[in-house]
Symmetry: C2
Subunit: 214 residues, 2 copies
Amino acid sequence: MVIAAPVADRLRDDILRGAFPPGERLIELQLTERYGVGRAAIRAALVELDAEGLVQREANRGATVRRISVAEAVEITEARAALEGLIARLAAERATDADRRRLRDLLAEMTQAVERDDKLAYSKLNRDLHGSLCRIARHRVADDLVANLRNRAAHHQFRLALVPGRASQSVAEHRAIVDAVASGDGPAAEAAMRTHLASVIDVLRHWEAFDTRA
Amino acid sequence: MVIAAPVADRLRDDILRGAFPPGERLIELQLTERYGVGRAAIRAALVELDAEGLVQREANRGATVRRISVAEAVEITEARAALEGLIARLAAERATDADRRRLRDLLAEMTQAVERDDKLAYSKLNRDLHGSLCRIARHRVADDLVANLRNRAAHHQFRLALVPGRASQSVAEHRAIVDAVASGDGPAAEAAMRTHLASVIDVLRHWEAFDTRA
DNA sequence: GTGCACAATACTGTTGACGATCTGCCCCGT
DNA sequence: ACGGGGCAGATCGTCAACAGTATTGTGCAC
């Protein structure tokens, strides 16, 4: 976390980009070869990612990439709503004029991305916007927690971007957030962020009903 | 975290109960003797507690018990307010009749503890009440995050209980929370929980102004 | 007395090997 | 054919030893 742990960072990136799908076994000796470090370093990285909730370790059975059920993704998003609500409120109170301009620029780019139907760019801009709010809010504790929660649900977030019609609704919700932050209205920003994530939860719940049948 | 790591648990308990004060160096060889395990196990425990934010590790310089500034305790409590607000709301929606009775019993005991001026019992009941709400809310993700945040700020929480007149105000705030949860009013429970933690933050901020002078 | 180079110390970081435990498979009996 | 016991392979958990790095203490020049 604090100490430079390049191995954990690389492994985390690989898991998030899908190099190791959920449920995949993470065998220490294989990782040793892949990253060119000793088993002790791999072990430390696995303990760290276990604490982050990205991998699961069982005694004498090794580590696997943690599977996140839809129900758990809902919980994660609920927690995100609470914390990002706080962040949005603080961002509204602390944003400088430059910050406000930057948020509006990001929103404009998002709108264009939706018009171009460029899901990849939209997904990136989405992350940028949430990341910018975190930076503006200057709240280390909440930032770290939210970053972790986002990582945990990353797979489901990716799936979300592919839902037809989702992007246009999402951009409208983000517009409400940006408007509230730009006008310095903390409570409105918090409410808008909660509304946004509540709509994400709605989509997830929809899947839950569907997936449990399949 | 998931795996049985008795060493990390014991070390965490020892840190929380003050056996290792903030800033204390945690030397691996000494911990080896204290807990009767090899250095590898100690190392894993330190990585785990580092990820939890309880200890700080620096490259080639070892681990120390993390010092939590008052400013950081404020941030931690702000994040707690957001998450425990969610928990209180869910608890209000999900509490059974037995849960409601139990909460009222705890509140009655807290009132008596304040009348007896029994700060130790009050502190324990305080933890029990928050813990009960977490259990009732049945929200694993938020529970885990809150438990971690509480641990991180444990020292400041302890100091809080010693402020004169604090207990009577605190019990009034808890009464508002319990009343809202018992009557099944989710939004009111969330608001009451936020009010409670906002008053905790007020006390912390008071210290901040005082401590930075000293 | 003070500042600096240098050596001694203490501790961490890493490696390699060994024993313990679990999993999958084969063989055998029914 | 099917189920259970045992064997072999794979993998984790642990330990001891070595190398590398930061810190502390000492002596010397000024």
